[in-house]
């Protein structure tokens, strides 16, 4: 069967071959950025980056390093294509995505190049599924130009403490306002909904706060509809780094530990709400 014949990539016409013993290690992290159907895949020898965007104001990236895969063979410096992420996830979970210990779906993912489908070979308990997902030419992702030199404020929190806040967010509020400040209230999340406003204040010396580095008081608003999808990544993560730069752009970096204890990253960028008005 295709899965047992690994390390034959040289004989195969594929430009990219990636294998995983446990397809959940890919599907879980992709699930955390599924809020639009189109996903841009960029593979380099370092690994796989999957990008999903919403209205040029928000971008999510999932990084899966090459060494997460049992096999990662790439014949070009950069291989890029675009697929329907919802379809891909249904394929990856074709056997139900069991969370039972010892039961996992093995995956071999192959791509021949421009114009070819992305081919998945999945195997669980001796049953094999072959999926051919049509690909498109990748679009150029938006460059948010978020560089660490311009970061004004940064906190690292244990995800647990933010999960509660995000699960309780007042969805009638159009925006989520984030205040970061070297003085009170340090780190505050605010919503302004139909029935009133709510503030969640995290003291800087909380055990939940792993790092607190704020240089100036900054209050920015972000569209709730854009930020809400990041809850999926939050749910999966153990730590989150919240950063804003001098323009008020937001970066949320989630550290995700997979079933095998390996670390991957998911990153969300979001423009402040004011920027949207200017466009």
């Amino acid at each position: 069967m295709p899965l047992s014949t690994q390390s034959q990539a040289d004989d195969e016409p594929y430009v990219l071959v990636a294998s995983l013993d446990n397809a959940r290690n890919l599907s879980n992290i992709l699930k955390s950025i599924t809020f639009k159907d189109h996903a841009i895949f960029s593979a380099t020898p370092n690994g796989l980056k999957v990008t999903v965007e919403d209205s040029k104001c928000m971008q999510a990236n999932a990084f899966i390093q090459a060494d997460i895969f049992q096999e990662f063979t790439i014949k070009e410096d950069l291989v890029g294509f675009q697929v329907n992420l919802t379809v891909l996830l249904d394929c990856l979970n074709i056997f139900g995505g069991s969370t039972v210990q010892g039961v996992s779906t093995a995956l071999r993912m192959c791509y021949r190049g421009y114009g070819y489908p992305l081919t998945l070979f999945l195997e669980e308990g001796g049953v094999v599924t072959v999926c051919k997902i049509n690909t498109q030419e990748p679009e150029e992702p938006v460059d948010f130009d978020f560089c660490s030199n311009n970061v004004t404020n940064k906190v690292i929190l244990l995800s647990e403490s933010l999960k509660e806040a995000f699960s309780e967010l007042d969805m009638t509020s159009e925006v989520l306002q984030i205040t970061m400040s070297p003085s009170q209230p340090y780190f505050r999340l605010s919503t302004f909904g139909n029935s009133g406003n709510a503030h969640y204040d995290y003291p800087k010396d909380s055990e939940m706060m792993e790092l607190f580095r704020c240089t100036t008081t900054q209050t920015n608003r972000y569209k709730m509809s854009l930020l809400k999808p990041s809850t999926k990544a939050l749910a999966l993560s153990c730590k989150v780094s919240v950063r804003t730069d001098s323009r008020g752009f937001l970066s949320l970096q989630y550290l995700v530990r997979n079933d095998d204890g390996q670390i991957c990253f998911v990153e969300y960028y979001c423009c402040p709400d004011e920027e949207v008005e200017e466009e």
Partner: protein, 394 residues
């Protein structure tokens, strides 16, 4: 700040709010001398619930002196404060409720583990007091049991079922689903028979049946079961409300549910109403002068004897109280939300007339203006009002 309630967080407060959300869309908050009252009423005004948390429930309870204050707000927004019951129990250490009348907001502050502070500023509207008039102690049939008994009973009925009928004899209680006559050949009928000794208390003076909404009963049971408090059920004759209550040393919860009046009553009232169109809106009612009107109402009941019944006002109120046309229960509440509802009410009266449905007399009583607001004391002779207001116009 006008009113401050502080307590070590106790899930019972959140559970009460969740349970009230099964009744209506709005939460009526009223800090009273005898505790913090939280109330709700359903849109067809056939169900009402009230929880009273005694001052001792709180570690600090300060309320405005001199004048009464009440407000209402969307119950959803209060529920949102206490959204995840399970995690709140683990994380919240202290709960602070503060009322700022100037800014028109009620603030819930939750002090959580790891220094996290959650502040919810909820805007509210002023409201008149919402109170159902009921006197459960005068009722002939009284039952008390562990909530489990009732939970095990309602589990036999499908979630979609709207009404149940409870019948009692000296020894037994029967609970069955209420089915409209015309649906009987299609519907599944379920009946459960409970023996009196399954109850802690079982007192029957009139062997009769009452039919009421199951949804609110379920709402009450969720609360009772989670707190383990015994549930008492009081009812009298068909048409007068059924009362469910739970109490412990620092809280009291009462759910007042309208019951369907029996068939003869039903026909009689229907035909009478067809003949007699509802009177046009009372001018007093259309004015914003609700208070004086209501005082009139209230004092007029106090003497009791049916001979001294007030003239038209009660009917005017009952006829124009907000009433979705599809409502199954016709109920009469002294409505307090004149601004929003008048138009609709007037319209209803003009075009639709009273809904052609079974007559049902959940009777909500009156509201005194803040200055003379007494307490939750039930008005004792509500039967007079409940049964006869329809006759008054004739």
């Amino acid at each position: 700040m006008l009113c401050i309630c502080v307590c070590v967080y106790r899930p019972v407060l959140a559970k009460a709010i969740h349970s009230l959300s099964r009744i209506g869309d709005e939460l009526y908050v009223e800090p009273q001398d005898d505790g913090l009252a939280l109330r709700s009423v359903n849109s067809s005004r056939s169900a009402y619930a009230c929880f009273l948390f005694a001052p001792l429930f709180f570690s600090r309870y300060t309320i405005p002196s001199g004048h009464a204050f009440r407000c209402k707000m969307a119950i959803k927004s209060v529920q949102a404060v206490f959204r995840s019951l399970a995690s709140l129990e683990k994380t919240v250490e202290k709960c602070h409720i503060g009322l700022d009348e100037k800014k028109n907001r009620l603030t819930f502050t939750l002090h959580c583990k790891h220094g996290l502070l959650k502040t919810h500023n909820l805007s509210f509207q002023d409201s008149e007091s919402l109170q159902a008039v009921f006197d459960k102690d005068s009722y002939g049939n009284v039952f008390r049991s562990h909530p489990r008994l009732l939970v095990d009973t309602v589990v036999h009925f499908p979630p979609s079922l709207e009404e149940v009928t409870v019948s009692v004899s000296d020894e037994r209680m029967w609970v069955r689903n209420h089915v409209e006559e015309e649906d009987r050949s299609k519907s599944m009928l379920t009946e459960l028979c409970l023996a009196s000794d399954e109850f802690d208390h079982f007192a029957v003076t009139t062997q009769n049946s009452v039919t009421f909404c199951l949804k609110e009963l379920r709402g009450m049971l969720v609360f009772a079961e989670s707190t383990g408090l015994p549930v008492s059920m009081y009812f009298d004759e068909p048409g007068s409300p059924l009362v469910l209550s739970v109490t412990d040393s620092v809280l009291e919860g009462n759910f007042v549910l309208a019951t369907l009046s029996d068939d003869s009553n039903h026909r009689k009232n229907n035909s009478r109403r067809e003949q007699t169109p509802p009177p046009p809106p009372n001018d007093d009612f259309m004015d914003d002068d609700m208070d004086s009107y209501l005082i009139a109402m209230d004092t007029s009941i106090a003497p009791g004897p049916s001979a001294t019944r007030p003239p038209t006002p009660p009917l005017a109120v009952s006829t124009y109280s907000k009433q979705p046309a599809a409502a199954n229960h016709r109920s009469r509440l002294i409505a307090e939300e004149q601004e929003e509802e008048e138009e609709e009410e007037a319209e209803l009266a003009d075009s639709a007339g009273p809904p052609n449905k079974k007559f049902c007399s959940l009777f909500f009583g009156s509201v005194l203006p803040p200055s003379s607001q007494t307490s939750t004391q039930p008005v004792t002779n509500q039967e007079v009002l409940a049964s006869d207001s329809e006759d008054d116009e004739q």
